[in-house]
Subunit: 353 residues, 2 copies
């Protein structure tokens, strides 16, 4: 352990009792919040994986850690503080940490990974295994027991599809934000619903129950007022929050709402198919099996109009081996599982050597 | 003349020589700039209209006068200053003004018109005829010799279609901005081109020469860098400025660029058709003739891929009586012509009475 900025966040360690066995840290850092999980570094079960329920010792939460949003200094401070908090809650200190996986949004280039890994090296003892990834990786790992293989489709306010192969290749599709056409996202769905209201009002589109349902929700008396509402606040999440109304309108039989959801299914499926194709996740004959982990509000299976299920149907027409997974644990646990897997693999390799 | 705020802008009037005959003011106030034209209030030619070249005495220009953008006080100050400047340049004073037409963007409700008219009444002598309209009206009048009848399609950074009947009814379509689906606008065309580059890059779309042409223009080395470029500055005009590259790519045979332009033609034609239908501009049999005034960079006829011409083709399939007009004068002259027409009509009515 060398120089680091926030020495005081680790003050608790001097009062920590000895005796806690090895632990793993998994961190999922997004634009809204950052979650850190401290998990016991238990030995694998008979199939070589950790068995459920996972041995989570503690969970800590903090704000944004996307360096593009808050700057690198603030992002690092948040990450360091939330890791210290998770260890404190688990009554452990850095000396018993075996591996750390940071999965942080905004980490897009090997240079980002290298920079953050260097910084982590100054915080943790030299034996600690360090892994730095994009937050999509944690989402994937949350559905694959920490195995980095397959495709993850995230669709909340935004959307991105990311894929990984066991030999370390990766590919992405979408994730470029609303101006650059992420139409399958929650923002995309809701913006199309608002557009449909305007079009129905000025005579360019079919009449739709979206008009009544959305204007009532927003307490507006006319579609003309939508313009003021829309541009008064540029937040994408505020618009994406209207997705449940689009889904309920479609469920009640509205043709326009149904078309918007069907189009969004095609968009989301296109992203998955592009990633699967580029990585050859489906094997040479196109029929090989691969996991598709689905994460985010748009893909939740709590409605009769199930966008995630339709996406899988659409993908399976081309790639019948698609294995849909809706994770039961949060992405930070995925990051911890990933760190555990990598640690066990390295550990096994060292034993062989 | 009663109280008004900026008495000093009119100080020049005390030094103005007598003898200037009646004048008309026409003002086109937009979000980018405000132009005021001072025109001689000449008698009509044999057909009852002013003959070209129009008797423009002076032209003055100022900044934004959209009250939604800069607030009402600043908007009024800009409007008053630019009117005073036009009169000063024409060596005229308010006492010889016969009529004023303000055509200002952001004037959307009768209450806006009434408020601005009340304010103008405090500035000008009581005999002056005052007309307050939306800026689309000036654009229409610039193509119809000041007659308020027909449809105007504006497509620059944004787009809107506005129609007016001789008996005072009006209707609009589009004009709701990019979030609410103005896909035929310059912004819409360029955003779709950027989207096409991202889709080609991540495997969701066809390869396109837009990638090379636009990345070279923006001095970016990879489509990945487009994301940073796009979100670093939220100005719609900056994105819309890429339209000429989409047009030249289409002219060179690029399939993706051609599809974007064809889609934009359909969108723009839909706006026109919706307005024509709602107002019945085409007569009862749908074949009646009506003017379609086309304004804005997207509709300029300086290229072999002529978006405006294609829009007219598309509209004429449904409404064969469409009479396309590309105005030769600027909208502020349209506003002056409108004021002149209204003044002459009222003058004739008064003579009859």
């Amino acid at each position: 352990m060398k120089r680091y900025r926030n020495r005081e966040v680790w003050d608790f360690e001097s009062e920590m009792p000895a005796g806690v066995r090895g632990v793993i840290l998994g961190l999922d850092g997004g634009t809204t919040s950052t979650v850190c999980i401290c998990m016991a570094a238990e030995r694998p079960g008979p199939c070589g994986l950790l068995s459920e329920p996972f041995p989570v010792l503690a969970r800590a939460i903090a704000g944004c850690s996307n360096h593009n949003s808050v700057g690198e200094t603030a992002a690092k401070e948040t990450i360091e503080r939330v890791m210290a908090q998770a260890l404190l809650k688990a009554r452990a200190s850095r000396s018993v940490v075996q591996a750390v996986c940071l999965a942080v949004s905004g980490v897009n280039h090997p240079s980002d990974q290298e920079r953050i890994r260097d910084w982590l090296r100054d915080i943790f003892p030299s034996h600690v295994k360090l892994f730095v990834e994009n937050d999509a990786v944690a989402a994937l790992a949350s559905g694959t027991m920490g195995k980095l293989h397959g495709c993850v489709l995230i669709a909340g306010t935004g959307t991105i599809a990311s894929g990984y192969t066991e030999d370390g290749r990766e590919a992405r599709a979408a994730g470029a934000g609303p101006i650059l056409g992420d139409w399958g996202s929650g923002y995309g769905i809701a913006a199309q619903a608002l557009t449909a209201i305007v079009r129905a009002h000025d005579g360019r589109g079919l009449q739709t129950t979206l008009t009544y349902n959305i204007l009532r929700e927003l307490r507006l008396s006319s579609p003309d007022e939508l313009i003021g509402w829309t541009y008064s606040d540029p937040s994408w999440a505020r618009i994406a929050a209207l997705v449940p109304l689009v889904v309920s309108s479609a469920e009640a039989g509205d043709e326009v709402a149904n078309k918007i959801l069907h189009d969004s299914v095609l968009e989301l499926a296109d992203s998955v198919k592009a990633v699967v194709k580029r990585l050859g996740l489906c094997g040479e004959d196109g029929k090989g099996s691969f996991p598709l982990v689905m994460v985010g509000g748009v893909l939740q299976a709590n409605r009769s109009w199930d966008i995630g299920k339709e996406v899988v149907k659409c993908v399976s027409k081309v790639y019948p081996g698609v294995q849909p997974i809706r994770p039961k644990v949060e992405p930070a646990v995925g990051a911890a599982l990933l760190a555990w897997n990598c640690f066990m693999r390295d550990f096994a390799n060292e034993l062989v050597c």
